[in-house]
């Protein structure tokens, strides 16, 4: 008879290797599914890794994709600390992009002032969008998962409304895009690649968030609220205000991702600037285990899969949404591995 027993201490060996084993198992399972769908998995994987890591261009593209994941991952992970689920980073990213684009196109600011303005507007719009869910959670106890999620659809529709309607470039041959931003307010690029200073900004924010969360009283407070809300209440921590504040910060980080996408990569507002970064951010935050440095590492790994998945669209005509399957499978295996980290299997003869 197979029995599962709780381990007294969690297995450190398992805990260290579990994420890697999970990714491997996910790749194997996805390979079997691909075979079934008539796609050669070896060819697909070779293509994926070659495109994302096999050249300087590939590596810069991977870092370009890692950038929004770092911002949104940090945002989701900060909310996680308080056991709040921000599934709406995608929408917050879009609102950030809208805010930044407004400053770039209509505020009249130029040069460095415009860049600062875009950054602040993006953070503010993303933060405000997320604090709607934070406010509803704090004041009325409305489920933040559903609210943040539904607001993704609303935010994406806002972008469509703007680029098809009032913000459409009059000289854009009727394409749903805004005018191009002037080059002097764009983030500077690494040589001729799309990699831009947004990545450095992301790394800087990792360090800032690390200090904020691990070394300040505020960071300690949100951890207490997450672990034991009653204790927090008796200790005099204002829970409602913290929830709204943390959601604002979480959304602001996602908003900055939107800023970097329009000011560093696209140079204008258009539909589909996020490839579901907000959803991938949940994996990033979950795998990183609340650690800011972890967010950085996992984001880069996830970016390899995203860039690889993109390349399969061109190499093997696979749909872009296909990478979601990998992400789902990775999470499934991570969840399953958690069980084996906390339990050990023992096989006994039955009846004795």
């Amino acid at each position: 008879m197979i029995r599962f027993e709780k381990r007294k201490d969690i297995s450190k060996y398992f805990a260290m290797t579990a994420p890697f084993v999970s990714v491997l198992l996910a790749l194997t399972t996805a390979g079997c599914i691909m075979l079934f769908a008539g796609v050669n998995p070896l060819k697909a994987y070779m293509g994926m890794f070659h495109e994302s890591l096999g050249s300087v261009y590939g590596i810069t593209e991977t870092l370009v994709k890692a950038t929004p994941l770092i911002f949104t991952g940090l945002g989701v992970s900060v909310a996680f600390r308080m056991k709040i689920w921000n599934i709406g980073a995608d929408g917050q990213l879009y609102m950030g992009a809208i805010g930044a684009s407004w400053v770039a196109l209509f505020s009249g600011l130029t040069g460095f002032a415009a860049m600062i303005g875009m950054f602040l507007a993006a953070a503010f719009c993303g933060g405000l969008w997320a604090s709607v869910a934070g406010f509803l959670k704090a004041k009325v106890r409305v489920n933040e998962i559903i609210v943040t999620l539904l607001m993704n659809y609303i935010a994406a529709a806002w972008v469509s409304y703007l680029v098809y309607g009032p913000w459409k470039d009059p000289k854009g041959f009727n394409f749903p895009i805004t005018q191009r931003f002037s080059p002097d307010i764009m983030l500077s690029h690494f040589m001729t690649y799309r990699l831009n200073t947004g990545f450095l900004l992301a790394v800087a924010l990792v360090i800032i968030l690390y200090i904020l969360v691990e070394k300040t009283i505020w960071g300690y407070e949100i951890k207490v609220i997450g672990d034991n809300p009653n204790a927090a209440k008796y200790a005099g921590i204002k829970i409602d205000r913290s929830i709204i504040g943390v959601m604002f910060l979480s959304g602001a980080l996602a908003g900055i991702a939107g800023y970097v996408e329009v000011a560093g990569v696209q140079g204008r507002l258009q539909e589909g600037i996020s490839q579901g970064y907000g959803y991938t951010a949940i994996i990033v935050a979950w795998l990183a285990g609340r650690s800011a440095i972890g967010v950085l590492i996992v984001s880069v790994i996830m970016a390899v899969i995203l860039v690889g998945g993109d390349s399969l669209q061109i190499l093997m005509q696979l749909p872009v949404a296909f990478v979601n399957m990998f992400q789902g499978l990775i999470l499934f295996f991570i969840l399953a591995s958690d069980f084996f980290i906390h339990n050990k299997i023992s096989i006994r003869r039955s009846g004795k």
């Binding site: 709780k6 992400q327 999470l331």
Partner: protein
């Protein structure tokens, strides 16, 4: 005009109704499933592909049920037997569903089938105005309404239903009285996932008889929100689903009539409305006795029993 709107309301509400009923069964057992969106896609694609190859709509619906059940089994296994985090597992299921249907759906894009026809109910369909709008639908609509009654009777009038509710309210007590908590929970996830799949199949077999990537367009999430609006009650789910069907019908009607309002702004309406309804539903929950299953989202481990 009213006739057309009423007809469109029921038609748009039916996929939501199936999915909401599925989610209610799962949540009644104590398992949250945020994978409904993914399950609907699995159901929509499987239903369409099987109906296309076998020329049988009935087989399509059955296949949708079983395929979504299989996908839901992953969630059930992780949440029930491995006691994993239900929220992360559900989100993974949605991602998995979006990804795998985009992969297998490549060959189904652009194909069309002859979807479900209207089957008028004798006599009733002759009633002026509401006869054609309410009693002249496809069989899946009638099935969904019958299901509302069946689930209500099951939950409140049967022994199994009582056990299911007790498992969701207080699994330790249910376990002590000899109910197999894990089996009930796992079965609830299987059946509920299958129903969500039929909701998806309704989209690709009756609502619009073709397959497009991501065709559920957030309906799975609306269904999860509707469960709270419905207070975990199947008859209220009917009202909720048709309410949303109505908003969708009005929105589409306005687009078709060519209002000056941007279609993108109209597209936001169902989502905004869901949030507003959710706020009121939650406020009502906070006040009175709560119908929310006590053990919702909490994994059950016999060894932790106090």
């Amino acid at each position: 005009m009213i006739e057309i709107l009423l007809y469109a309301t029921i038609k748009a509400g039916t996929p939501l109704l199936f999915a909401t009923l599925g989610a209610i069964i799962m949540e009644r057992s104590g398992i949250i499933n945020l994978g409904v969106e993914g399950l609907m896609l699995v159901g929509a694609l499987t239903g369409f592909s099987v109906a296309y190859t076998t020329h049988s709509l009935f087989l399509g619906v059955m296949a949708a049920f079983f395929a979504s059940m299989a996908a839901g089994a992953i969630h059930g296994f992780i949440c029930v037997y491995l006691r994993g985090n239900q929220i992360v597992s559900g989100l993974s299921l949605t991602m998995f569903g979006i990804g795998i249907t985009s992969l297998f759906g490549r060959s189904a894009v652009g194909l069309t089938i002859h979807g479900f026809d209207r089957t008028p109910i004798p006599l009733l369909s002759k009633i002026p105005v509401i006869g054609q709008a309410v009693f002249n639908h496809d069989v899946l609509v009638y099935f969904s309404v019958a299901l509302v009654v069946c689930i209500h009777l099951f939950l409140y009038k049967s022994r199994w239903g009582l056990h299911l509710r007790s498992v969701g309210e207080n699994p330790a007590a249910a376990d002590t009285s000899g109910v197999n908590v894990n089996l009930y929970r796992f079965s609830a996830v299987l059946i509920g996932s299958g129903l969500a799949g039929i909701g998806g199949a309704y989209l690709s077999l009756a609502y619009t008889p073709f397959w497009v990537e991501n065709m559920s367009a957030g309906r799975g999430w609306i269904a999860v929100a509707l469960v709270i609006f419905a207070q975990w009650n199947s008859t209220r789910a009917l009202a909720g689903a048709y309410l949303f069907g109505g908003i969708n019908a009005v929105q589409l009607r306005m687009q078709a009539m060519g209002t000056s309002l941007s279609p993108h702004l109209l597209m936001m309406l169902p989502y905004i409305f869901t949030i507003i309804v959710l706020i009121f539903a939650t406020m009502r929950l906070e006040k009175g006795s709560t119908p929310e299953p006590e053990a919702l989202g909490v994994p059950y481990d016999r060894e932790d029993r106090k």
